[in-house]
């Protein structure tokens, strides 16, 4: 999920701002799932991905980013997977 968040955010389609918010939502979901399960993704701390995160985040305003992140954190596992599909498939189409 965290990986997908980065991939969607970096791809920046169909529109960079929306892709950033989708990435934030996926990232929020990934964060709460990983906290629950106990796997900490290397993507959170790797220098390259840190730079990517700044880039994805810079495309939207602070409040929208935080809201999307919070919305992602509130999702259940099933809802998070449904989101991943919608966002992932939307990005590819």
């Amino acid at each position: 999920m965290m990986e997908l968040a980065f991939a969607v955010g970096m791809r920046g389609e169909p529109e960079p701002g929306l892709a950033s918010l989708q990435a934030a939502q996926l990232g929020g979901a990934a964060e709460s799932l990983q906290n629950a399960i106990g796997f900490s993704s290397w993507m959170k701390t790797h220098p390259i991905t840190e730079a990517m995160l700044q880039y994805i985040r810079s495309r939207v305003d602070e409040q929208s980013w935080e809201e999307a992140l919070a919305a992602g954190r509130a999702l259940t596992e099933e809802q998070a997977m449904a989101l991943a599909y919608r966002v992932g498939e939307g990005t590819l189409s």
Binding site: L4, L21, L33, I37, G38, W42, M52, A71, L75
Partner: protein
């Protein structure tokens, strides 16, 4: 129109479901900015009635709202009349698919949107609840009161507390936003394990580094939920845990069944009395008699085993006396009624009266009268069994939380072979069914493709007493531990193969048995004793054994019949269960067992098999520590394991430890070391052996190559790893690999390929029901 609370609700629904406002705007044909103004601003933008209706219809079509009442509530909040949807609209999808009942919150303080889906884990009842209507009504009211958060159903064994609690919980399921959850504690003897049992019943993932209680309080603090804690009397020292959870989670209510109270502040005691009985001196007509719970239960149960049986004027007095003789206790009534098939009521009453006499002159005299009655009835029922059935019933008491037909058959074979006794004259399944007919056993739903049985805790206590009296208890507990070691080691391989989900279900079904076996062996090991018996079956097929890292030694390390040291058993069992604990996210449980078994001292002249078992446990502990981000411990354990394996000729064991060391190295950004240990591992293993393990080694080689931007090698290693995992049939490992590959493709700046790969990974998880791996 005042749409403020309607807007709040819609935003809450969207947030909880993962749909965006933009998607909603698209669905109701509004420009996203216009919808955003109408839903978010305090200005003049108002939603029209048509827009409100479209929003509700869309939420229904997305299954974001699932009940008609949720739709009505939204209409009400938007101040739109319910009849603004025509009858035809209500009868057409998606509105027609809304359930008529609503999951209504019973907490009236503040607005709380209904949950999207209602959840529970209540087992389906096999019979209807009899004679408890008033109790259900009173408990329902009690639990709906805001000031009541802990209710304890108190009653003697066999009084029907569990059945009543399950019924009340099912009635209240819709009243709690996050549903009702049943936690069976009958198989738990250590109060320390209560929090973990609750976690497992909730199917939640504990925090990797938090204590189970901390994980629970974090999880429960914003939930509205009813927990049913069944059979609490044997873990009563865990009462403080219940207190902590209630203090931390204001939306939590707890319904406990126990023989004694918990003595917590705010606890409401509800005594579960026996079923109603008529006065022996004034016996009413049969129709009136059937109004009494005890009579009704007896007659219904009797008709289940003898369909021709009926309450009639001729047998009414006898039946009243039978019910009176067993004090109207539900379990005793069931045991008695089960015998109607072979004993006519008059004879049944005569036998019961004789049994009571014999028991009253025996050891049960000091028991309170109701317990005496129950014991008397169990004893009577037990004595009516054939000698073979008696023996089987007592032996089955060694299982905790249920058992499969295979396990029972294996136990019978092992014991008979040991005693050189005659094998069972009939089929074991027939005998088990016979015991089910006599209400001494319960048949469980099939789990992991296996037929399963269990017995009520009250009856299990009796069975264990019989075993102890016969001097068989210790021997059978040894057998039990050996048997479940075999299951755990076979399952360890099974989890890495094409039937991994079947194995996962089997492991989950045997959870209580594993714990009991681990506790028993640990106790034996601490006492420096030996498990006296080896299981009389093959641990696994030889084909699987050749594929197993670090486990081939078990076939050769100790000769059959020579006795298996308890310390080796503990080490092997905790190691074998690690993949299961990891899969389920039970990391604190894994860590605690592994640490306990690794703390056992070894003899100076410990055998090779004991040393191998310790080496494996060390490397499994390294894996768990790495998952918990405790990297120094992970490295320490892996290094100790590697050193121990190097003293032995076991390439598979050593290569497994090297895999775990490589993982810790990657987590510490030491890619050079990761590469080197993986190469050492691959060098140890012949090309056509250890398929799965070689897959792991290639996986970490690929990760290390990716992190050092050697993308060409990385792709080649991932491809080799994937091929090996596919050969082994391990879909879960393939999904893990796709996740790693997806991450690396991001580093390679191939984002579209990364999305594609990660969606394949997600698809793999979903189609294989492995959401927990997400």
């Amino acid at each position: 129109m005042n749409g403020r609370t309607f807007r709040d609700s819609v935003r809450e629904y969207l947030r909880n479901s993962g749909y965006s406002q933009q998607e909603l705007a698209g669905a109701i044909c509004l420009h996203p900015k216009v919808l955003s103004r109408k839903l978010n601003s305090n200005g003049n933008a108002q939603l029209t009635q048509l827009e409100v209706k479209r929003i509700i219809t869309t939420l229904a079509s997305w299954n974001v709202i699932t009940t008609r009442n949720e739709a009505l509530l939204l209409l009400d909040l938007a101040q739109v009349q319910p009849n603004s949807f025509s009858d035809k609209e209500w009868q057409t999808p998606p509105l027609s698919q809304l359930a008529p009942e609503q999951a209504q919150s019973i907490f009236s303080n503040g607005f709380s949107p209904p949950m999207l889906t209602m959840r529970h884990n209540l087992p389906a009842p096999t019979t209807r609840l009899i004679g408890r209507e008033w109790a259900v009504e009173r408990l329902r009211h009690l639990l709906r009161r805001e000031d009541v958060r802990l209710v304890t159903l108190v009653g003697s064994g066999g009084s029907g507390k569990t059945r009543l609690a399950l019924h009340v919980a099912s009635v209240l399921a819709g009243a709690f936003a996050q549903g009702v959850w049943f936690v069976a504690l009958g198989g738990v003897s250590d109060p320390e394990l209560v929090p973990m049992s609750i976690i497992q019943a909730l199917n939640m993932k504990p925090g990797p580094r938090s204590s189970p209680v901390q994980s629970l309080t974090t999880y429960l603090r914003d939930k509205q939920m009813l927990l049913v804690l069944d059979n609490f009397e044997q873990v009563k020292d865990a009462a403080s845990v219940v207190g902590e959870l209630l203090a931390a989670a204001p939306g939590l209510k707890v319904l406990v069944t126990s023989r004694t109270m918990l003595h917590l502040y705010g606890e409401h005691k509800f005594s579960v009395p026996p079923l109603d009985l008529p006065d022996l001196d004034v016996i009413p007509g049969t129709e009136d008699l059937l109004q009494y719970g005890a009579i009704q239960l007896f007659v219904e149960r009797a008709q289940e085993v003898a369909p021709d049986f009926a309450l009639a004027a001729e047998n009414a007095a006898t039946i009243v006396q039978i019910c009176d003789r067993v004090d109207g206790l539900p379990l005793a009534l069931e045991l008695a009624a089960a015998r109607v098939k072979v004993l006519p009521p008059a004879l049944l009453l005569e036998r019961l009266s004789e049994a009571r006499l014999s028991v009253l002159t025996g050891g049960a005299r000091n028991l309170p009268s109701r317990q005496q009655t129950l014991r008397n009835t169990i004893n009577w029922s037990y004595n009516l069994l054939s000698p073979e059935e008696e023996t089987t019933f007592a032996r089955l008491g060694v299982f905790t939380g249920g058992w499969s037909l295979e396990a029972a058959a294996s136990m019978m074979q092992a014991v008979e072979a040991d005693q050189e006794g005659a094998p069972l004259s009939g089929s074991l399944l027939d005998m088990l069914e016979q015991l089910v007919d006599n209400s001494l056993l319960v048949r469980l739903p099939v789990a992991g493709g296996q037929v399963r049985f269990t017995m009520l805790e009250t009856l299990r206590e009796y069975a264990l007493e019989q075993l102890a009296r016969q001097g068989d208890l210790e021997r059978l507990r040894d057998w039990h531990a050996c048997y479940y070691l075999g299951v755990a080691e076979t399952a360890e391989q099974g989890l890495r193969g094409p039937k991994q989900l079947v194995w996962l279900a089997r492991l989950a079904a045997e959870r209580d048995n594993f714990r009991a076996a681990l506790e028993w062996s640990l106790r034996r090991a601490r006492a420096g004793m030996m498990n006296s018996r080896r299981p009389r079956y093959e641990f696994r097929s030889t084909e699987e054994a050749t594929e197993t890292a670090g486990s081939e030694m078990y076939e050769t390390g100790s000769a059959h019949g020579s006795g298996l040291l308890a310390v080796e058993m503990c080490l092997r069992m905790a190691s074998a269960l690690r993949p299961y604990w990891e899969w389920q996210g039970y990391l604190p449980e894994a860590r605690s067992w592994l640490e306990a078994v690794l703390a056992l001292p070894l003899e100076e002249d410990a055998s090779e098999s004991v040393l191998a078992a310790r080496a494996k446990a060390l490397s499994e502990d390294a894996r768990v520590a790495c998952l918990q981000d405790d990297l120094p411990r992970s490295v320490e354990m892996a290094d100790q394991s590697i050193a121990l394996w190097r003293q032995q000729d076991n390439p598979g064991g050593l290569a497994t430890a090297l895999v775990h060391r490589a993982w810790a190295a990657i987590a510490m950004d030491d890619y050079g070391l990761a590469k080197s240990v993986c190469e050492q591992g691959l060098h140890l293993l012949p090309p056509n052996s250890n398929t799965w393990l070689r897959g792991q080694l290639f996986l970490y080689l690929a990760d290390a190559a990716g992190f050092t931007t050697d993308f060409e090698r990385m792709r080649s290693y991932y491809a080799q790893s994937k091929e090996l995992f596919e050969q082994a049939g391990d879909k879960s490992a393939v999904a893990d690999l796709l996740k790693d590959l997806g991450g690396m493709l991001i580093l390679e700046l191939k984002h579209t390929e990364a999305v594609d790969c990660l969606l394949s990974c997600a698809m793999n998880w979903v189609t294989n029901n492995m959401l927990q791996r997400v």
